[in-house]
């Protein structure tokens, strides 16, 4: 009895040792195989995994890796073979997953479907399972099965809204736009924070099928929530149906419309913003708000280079007797802003900095904070620079201590140095600007200016500065002045600058004349082609030009811009 027990003990010990040894060997083999796999040496990796399976036929890692190798080498049959041989050792759900994947990979989606059902039934509460399996189908383009699967999920979880985003995306890939749209709309209703995303998706959908706007309209009208209405308005704005977009908001509370208008204003959807403010003016009774809307419209007109309109609008604000009453001067900022705008407009019309300064002087009366005073000071200093009264500018700038205007102040000092022809100081100030405020709005301008100046001959430098001053005074003659310098220095970069100014001043003829130049410099040539598109309002013509360009310069740094135009995005001049 005792000896029997001892033998048994010995055998158990030997057996466990054997197992241990086997385990170690397995680890080593797996490691080696993994290394080969990592190095894409699939044959070696495969052999090693097979050896592992000889040792431990149940090793799941080896089985799955063999299947992966089969996929990696595009040999699905091999994957099938592995699964046939060793699949029994995999957990049933993993086995099913693999079988589904193989079948889908082979294009046998129909055959895979029962297994999908089986797989789902095994873990009915796992929503991610649906997503995982859907991803197999999605990769091979079986979107119908993806949708079917998600539908099944909805049914199983008794939630008709489940997987809405995935479902919508899948429908969009499958070009089932209406379905996708409905899903997106439903999802948006439940997740109103995703308005912009859905708006963008809708844009894609409507680009494919514009009639589907009715679906949005219907949904928006039938929905009690506001988000779909906002979406509808957004979609209409995209489609440039501004009146309709506005109508949507007109039906909502005025504060929604104000929000909409402000939003469009800030995102430079100027046309609709203009209309919205115009409408708001009509319904607004508060004199201050009314004038603010008016001013906003003037701003829109100004930034769209419609100076006359801007002036007429802002003049109304400026001349509003109620606003100018002493007790009302500071109740809103519009009096101040309007005079500032007026100053800019005067500069645009007269190119006379002194007149512009007068308006700024008036604006001081309407300032409501030290910040605004500083703002006026900086702007006055700038205009004094343009008025060539550099000392006055310096003196004013010395008074500006508000950090919010440090950038403007530095830029003004830079300009002073430029106009004093103190290039060294200007260069140093430019360095300072870059170091202090690399993201500043004047930084690249300063670099540009310095680059131009440093490349020019001494004689041309003063001409260039004169033209730049004219440009800052919003004088279109600056373009001609620049062109003259080009004729002396033959720097095509100057012509590009002239072209940019021409576009900025909306001097189409001058722009076209510049574009007619036979560009020698490749960058100038390519960039001018891009700028040329801005003159072309017709989308089809823009696309044609883009195609031409891409044919000639497929590797240009601007080629992505042209390609994006080809994908029907009209180039914005802003």
């Amino acid at each position: 009895m005792k000896s029997r027990f001892l033998i048994l003990l010995f055998l158990s010990a030997s057996f466990s040792g054997l197992l241990r040894g086997q385990y170690d060997q397995r680890q080593i083999l797996l490691q080696q195989a993994q290394n080969h796999f990592g190095m894409r040496q699939y044959t070696q990796a495969e052999n090693l995994y097979k050896q592992v399976l000889e040792l431990v036929p149940t090793d799941q890692t080896a089985i799955l890796q063999l299947i992966n190798i089969a996929y990696a080498t595009g040999n699905v049959d091999k994957a099938q073979d592995v699964l046939d041989r060793h699949g029994a050792y995999l957990p049933p759900i993993t086995l099913l997953d693999q079988q589904i994947q193989i079948l889908v990979y082979k294009g046998k989606a129909e055959e895979a479907w029962p297994k999908v059902l089986q797989s789902i039934s095994m873990q009915p509460n796992d929503q991610n399972r649906y997503r995982t399996i859907a991803s197999h189908f999605e990769r091979r383009g079986f979107f119908d099965y993806v949708q079917r699967l998600y539908q099944l999920g909805r049914k199983n979880f008794k939630d008709p809204n489940l997987f809405a985003l995935e479902y919508a995306n899948s429908a969009l890939y499958a070009q089932r736009y209406e379905l996708a749209l409905n899903e997106y709309l439903g999802w948006l209703e439940r997740n109103p924070a995703n308005l912009y995303f859905v708006n963008n998706q809708c844009k894609t959908i409507l680009e494919a099928d514009s009639t589907l706007i009715n679906v949005i309209t219907d949904k928006a009208n039938s929905s009690s929530g506001i988000v779909l209405k906002e979406l509808l308005a957004g979609v209409l704005v995209q489609r440039k149906d501004y009146a309709a977009a506005l109508d949507v908001y007109k039906k909502l509370s005025p504060d929604k419309l104000v929000n909409f208008a402000n939003q469009q204003f800030s995102s430079r959807q100027d046309e609709v913003a203009f209309l919205a403010f115009e409408y708001l003016e009509t319904i607004e009774t508060d004199i201050f708000r009314k004038n603010q809307y008016l001013f906003n419209r003037a701003t829109i007109a100004h930034r769209n280079l419609d100076y006359q309109l801007a002036d007429s609008l802002v003049t109304v604000v400026v001349q509003d007797s109620l606003l100018n009453l002493p007790q009302n001067k500071w109740r809103s900022g519009v009096g101040y802003s309007a005079r500032k705008l007026k100053s800019e407009l005067v500069l645009s019309f007269t190119h006379d900095a002194a007149q512009a300064i007068e308006w700024l002087t008036q604006a001081i009366e309407y300032t409501r904070s030290t910040v605004q005073i500083a703002e006026i000071q900086v702007e006055t200093a700038r205009l004094n620079i343009l008025n060539q009264d550099l000392e006055a500018a310096k003196s004013i700038l010395n008074q500006v201590n508000d950090n919010n205007f440090a950038e403007q102040k530095e830029h003004c000092l830079f300009l002073i140095a430029l106009f004093e022809n103190n290039i060294e100081l200007a260069d140093s100030l430019m360095n300072e600007q870059i170091i202090h405020r690399p993201e500043g709005k004047y930084t690249n301008d300063s670099i540009y200016l310095m680059m131009h100046l440093l490349n020019l001959s001494e004689e041309s430098k003063s001409h260039f500065l004169a033209s730049y001053r004219a440009y800052l005074l919003q004088d279109p003659n600056s373009i001609d002045m620049l062109s003259e310098i080009f004729s002396e220095d033959a720097e095509e970069e100057l012509m590009i600058l002239a072209l940019q100014w021409a576009l900025e001043f909306d001097q189409k003829d001058k722009a076209l004349a510049i574009l007619a130049h036979d560009w020698q410099d490749p960058i100038a040539r390519e960039y001018s082609a891009l700028l040329a598109l801005l003159l072309e309002k017709s989308s089809s013509e823009q696309q044609r030009q883009a195609r031409e360009f891409l044919k000639e310069y497929p590797n240009s740094v601007f080629s992505p811009e042209f390609r994006s135009i080809l994908s029907s995005r009209p180039l914005s001049s802003h």
């Binding site: 991610n128 708006n199 202090h436 670099i447 680059m451």
Partner: protein
């Protein structure tokens, strides 16, 4: 008177005498008996017994009374005449009682006749009868009395002394007052003996009546010993003993038996003064116990301290000599000069005459070793470079001193020559850097110089040492190039292999990344796989780092061989720097993030880390790729250099040969051989030019190619090889003048060729420089356009980002194309400052974050990302502008590590000052209950401005200083912190958080300094192999220095006292924290 009467009187007297005699005798006997009883009691009870007086009294009284009684009785019994007459009658048998009658008649006064008659009769009878009175005692009584008397007296006599005392006491009835000897005489008194000897202690003339005891001690307590016969013997005395003898009456003096050890030297002091030539100072040795190790002729002062006073000490040498030591008591010394190695022992004789046990000591001679000399560098056979300088590091040493260092050399088989490098050498060790300038020897390629060093020591024996012999060979430039090219190719292929591995890794990683994106829930397997990938990447990064180091060695070699011109070397150095930057901090940081994300297994973190790592990995590969391109791009220039160097070498060799040919002492045969060698070199030059021709691109290098063709044509037409051949032949035919003419012709041609090649090289270098400049200019312009366009897009960004997304994506793609083109230009990366990469990374990151957030529908940070993109674009422009400026001004910007360190130190002090002020302000704020008055606000604003200025200065440094750009991450963090603090302060926000940030700034400034210091040290180590410098970690010191500096700042001194107090407390707190 009648007879009778007389007889009667006589007899009566007799009888009465007997009676009285007996009574007296009885009294006497009683008295004696009393005495005896007393004596017996005296003996029995002791003389001091209190009983004795009573006994005495009793005996005396008894004796007296009894004696009186006896005497009275005797008196009462005295016979009268009648009784005597009666006795006479009876005794005489007189029945007539004549006597009695007579007496009575007489008494009765009877008739006198009768009386007469009777008297006559009585007389007659008396005459006739002799009466005998009875004896006093009968014999028995006499015997008894005598027995008693004899016995008693004998007893008394036998104890006469006692009896005497007893009888005196009886008499006086008082104990005897005893007078003993009051002094005890002791032998031997104080004595000194040797340890273990016996000592007899004896009482001289003892008071025998008293018992004597011996008391002794060797510690504090006296112990008691009984004396036998008034003496005691200590058999073996081991320690000092104090003793005295005492009886009940007296004590002797205390005496001391001083026990002496065996004599030995308790302390040794050997002062050895080495001979003067050793230059060694006197050595004092107290440990060697008389064993002396000294240089020959050293003067030895031997001083010993003995354990016991010694009478005599002397050194006994093995050869029988003795050398007495002078001194007394315990201290002895002597002086002698070491002449030979020998043994000796010290003989000590103490005052007891004892001698110490002899213990052998040795005198050993320290040998004067011969000097040693080694050539530490190169310590192997070397190849000389073109500078013809052979740097040697020599190390020599001797135990005493060195002199006459000589370099011995032998050029080929010529006679051995030597150069005395140093004749007087201070010290025993010599480490010398010596550059053996071989230029004056006019070596030819292939020459061998065998060299070694020799040196002597300064001993009178003039011992000499020689180093190992090494050979320096002067190779040809072609040979040098061959080796270097091999190495370069190896490095290139290793880099190539690293790239391939990285590509595989990337694919693998990409697969994993997709899996994670698909299913963010990672399991153990995923983690393991990702960890494996990380490990592989780590290995690759290390591999590339090693390559960069190897490449630096290669450059050093090239530099030493003067094989390449400065500009090409500079380019290679830049490539090396780029290699160092391949595995940059960004990659390491991305790997760290990834590892952390893997540890935490947070799916979101992991996803971000994976994304982040993806880009870093791509960047890693791009950098390797760029480096490979650069290596390829400079190959042409290297080949051009090679050809030029070969041509110069041939020219120089030909010139040297011509000069040597004019010296008739030079053998013609040797000269001819050298000429043949030059011809071979020329053939190699032609081959090198062919190789160069193959490398040149027909389009890109058209001009150079054309120049090369012209050169080749010239070479073909002018045929210098035939001149060389003729020269060789003429030399062999010993037609020296003809040979010299040939040589001159060949030399002129070679000069022409070298000149042309130099021109080619110049135009080649210029061409690549132009390309780089053009690429940079182009990139600047394009980036500026992107910046402008981006600014416009930024203005259009509203709440909804989608309207500008397409343009933003197009812009991003455009930027990538721009960068690809830019970096596609050969060698451009060598001129791009490190800051450009940082800004590029930041820009790309900003784009990436923006796109990611749009996809995640989180729009609130988009304006910031847009601003960051603009910032990045502008900074990239600026970086390139600076690079252009630097390239045109011919050097990098910035002031190097030293100035950066100084600047950072200065900033650290400023920041410390600001911290102190903030602390004081904070304290004041607390005291004011959180309210900030106008003065305080002003102070805070000033502080804000100071803090901003520090940030700006750092920005400027980061922008302009390439060294600072190497610490970009730290400096950027400091800038961010400083700006955050400035922002807080500008908004009048003063809180512990402000303090914390400021402390972070200090800490980072110190980190940056340490890092620079470390880098500096590492570079110096690389550059100066022989001069190692060791960095010192002085973090604590740094902080302390900063504090001190800040305290000395004038601004500190101008602060109110209360503030200064706060500041001091703050500094103390900082110090405590640091500890």
């Amino acid at each position: 008177m009648t007879l009778f009467e007389r007889a009667l009187k006589r007899y009566k007297f007799k009888f009465n005498s007997a009676l009285m005699g007996r009574a007296l005798l009885a009294c006497l006997l009683i008295f004696l008996a009393s005495i005896h009883i007393y004596y017996a009691s005296w003996l029995g009870f002791g003389e001091r017994s209190t009983v004795l007086p009573y006994i005495n009294m009793t005996l005396r009284t008894g004796t007296a009374l009894f004696s009186i009684f006896l005497l009275l009785r005797a008196y009462n019994s005295l016979w009268d005449d009648r009784k005597t007459a009666r006795w006479m009658d009876i005794t005489a048998g007189n029945d007539d009682d004549i006597y009695q009658n007579l007496y009575e008649l007489r008494e009765q006064q009877e008739s006198p006749e009768v009386i007469e008659l009777l008297a006559i009769q009585a007389d007659r009878r008396i005459e006739e009868q002799q009466l005998k009175p009875p004896a006093w005692f009968n014999p028995t009584q006499i015997f008894l009395i005598l027995f008693f008397l004899v016995g008693t007296l004998t007893f008394w006599a036998m104890s006469w002394d006692s009896f005497r005392l007893a009888i005196r006491q009886f008499y006086t009835n008082r104990p005897q007052s005893i007078v003993y000897k009051e002094a005890i005489e002791v032998s031997p008194g104080n004595i000194t003996i040797g340890r273990g000897q016996e000592v007899l202690i004896e009482v001289l003339n003892p008071e025998t009546r008293l018992e004597h005891k011996l008391y002794f001690r060797y510690d504090k307590m006296f112990r008691e010993l009984a004396l036998t016969d008034w003496r005691y013997l200590f058999n073996s005395v081991e320690t000092d003993i104090e003793y005295y003898i005492s009886n009940s009456v007296a004590s002797s003096d205390t005496f001391k038996i001083t026990c002496l050890d065996e004599p030995y030297a308790r302390q040794w002091r050997t002062q050895i003064s080495p001979p003067a030539y050793t230059g060694l100072s006197t050595v004092v040795d107290t440990l060697s116990q008389g064993n002396i190790e000294a240089f020959l002729h050293s003067l030895v002062n031997l001083n010993i301290q003995t354990n016991i006073p010694i009478k005599q000490a002397q050194m006994r040498f093995s050869d029988g000599r003795t050398l007495p030591l002078k001194g007394s008591g315990n201290s002895f010394s002597t002086q002698f000069r070491v002449q030979k190695a020998e043994t000796w022992y010290l003989e000590l004789t103490d005052f007891l005459g004892r001698k110490n046990r002899p213990e052998e000591k040795s005198i050993n001679i320290i040998t004067d070793s011969p000097p040693e000399i080694r050539i530490l560098f190169p310590a192997k056979d070397t190849v000389l470079d073109q500078r013809m300088n052979l740097p040697l590091i020599v190390s020599a040493n001797d135990d005493f001193g060195l002199r006459n260092l000589q370099l011995v050399y032998q050029i080929n088989d010529a006679a051995v020559q030597n150069i005395t490098i140093k004749s007087v050498i201070a010290g025993k060790i010599l480490n010398l850097d010596y550059v053996f300038d071989l230029a004056p020897f006019g070596l030819f390629p292939g020459d061998r110089v065998t060299y070694w060093m020799q040196i002597w020591d300064n001993s009178p024996m003039h011992q000499k040492a020689e180093s190992a012999r090494y050979v320096a060979r002067f190779p040809s430039i072609a040979e040098i190039y061959q080796k270097i090219e091999q190495k370069e190719n190896l490095k290139t292929s290793e880099l190539q292999s690293a790239l391939e591995q990285a590509q595989d890794l990337q694919q693998e990683f990409e697969q994993k990344r997709r899996e994670i994106l698909k299913d963010p829930q990672t399991d153990w397997e995923d983690k393991k796989q990702l960890q494996d990938l990380m490990e592989k990447q780590e290995e690759l990064a290390d591999q590339v780092d090693n390559l960069a180091e190897d490449f630096q060695d290669l450059i050093n070699q090239l530099q030493n061989h003067q094989a390449l011109s400065e500009d090409v070397l500079e380019k290679m150095q830049k490539i090396q720097e780029l290699m160092e930057e391949i595995a940059n901090d960004e990659l390491r940081a991305a790997m760290d993030k990834m590892n952390k994300a893997l540890e935490n297994m947070n799916p979101e973190d992991l996803r971000k880390a994976v994304e982040n790592f993806k880009f870093s990995l791509q960047d890693f590969m791009d950098r390797i790729d760029q480096t490979l391109d650069l290596l390829e791009s400079i190959k042409k220039e290297q080949s051009m250099e090679k050809a030029l160097q070969m041509a110069s070498e041939i020219e120089k060799s030909q010139q040297a040969l011509k000069d040597r040919a004019s010296d008739p002492s030079n053998k013609a045969e040797n000269l001819a051989t050298d000429q043949d060698n030059i011809s071979s070199a020329y053939e190699e030059l032609k081959k090198a030019l062919e190789d160069l021709d193959k490398m040149l691109d027909s389009n890109k290098d058209r001009d150079i190619k054309q120049q090369l063709q012209q050169l080749k044509q010239d070479m073909q037409q002018s045929k210098p090889e035939s001149d060389m051949k003729s020269s060789s032949l003429n030399l062999r035919a010993n037609k020296r003048s003809e040979a010299q003419a040939n040589m001159e012709a060949a030399l002129q041609k070679m000069r022409r060729f070298t000149l042309k090649m130099n021109e080619m090289k110049q135009s080649m270098g210029g061409q690549s420089q132009q390309e780089v400049t053009a690429a940079m200019q182009r990139a600047i312009r394009e980036l500026l356009i992107f910046s402008t366009n981006h600014e416009k897009l930024q203005q259009r960004l509203g709440k909804d980002p989608y309207p500008i997304m397409q343009e933003l994506i197009a812009q991003y793609d455009g930027l990538q194309i721009l960068l690809n083109k830019f970096f596609g230009t050969p060698q451009v990366t060598m001129f791009v400052p490190p800051k450009f990469y940082l800004d590029l990374t930041d820009t790309n990151n900003a784009y990436r974050d923006l796109f990611m957030q749009v996809s995640e529908m989180q729009y609130y940070q988009l304006p910031q990302h847009m601003a960051n993109i603009l910032k990045g674009l502008n900074l990239m422009v600026y970086d390139l502008m600076q690079a252009l400026n630097n390239a045109s001004s011919g050097g990098g910007g910035g002031g190097g590590m030293q100035s950066l360190m100084q600047m950072l130190q200065q900033m650290g002090q400023e920041q410390m000052m600001m911290n102190m002020l903030t602390q004081a302000l904070l304290k004041q704020l607390q005291e004011q209950g959180g309210r900030m008055d106008a003065a305080m606000q002003q102070q805070v604003q000033k502080l804000a401005a100071d803090q901003q200025r520090l940030a700006d200065n750092l920005k400027r440094t980061l922008q302009n200083d390439p060294e600072a750009q190497k610490q970009a991450n730290t400096i950027k963090q400091i800038i961010e912190e400083a700006e955050a603090v400035a922002r807080q302060l500008r908004a009048n926000q003063l809180s512990p958080d402000t303090m914390r940030r400021q402390e972070n700034i200090i800490s980072r400034l110190l980190d940056a300094q340490r890092s620079i210091n470390k880098r500096d040290t590492t570079q110096k180590r690389k550059a100066e192999a022989a001069k190692q410098q060791f960095p010192t970690d002085t973090s604590q010191m740094d902080l302390q220095q900063l504090r001190r500096a800040a305290m000395l700042d004038d601004r500190y001194k101008s602060l109110p006292n209360s503030w200064q107090q706060v500041i001091i407390k703050y500094l103390k707190l900082l110090s405590d924290q640091a500890q």
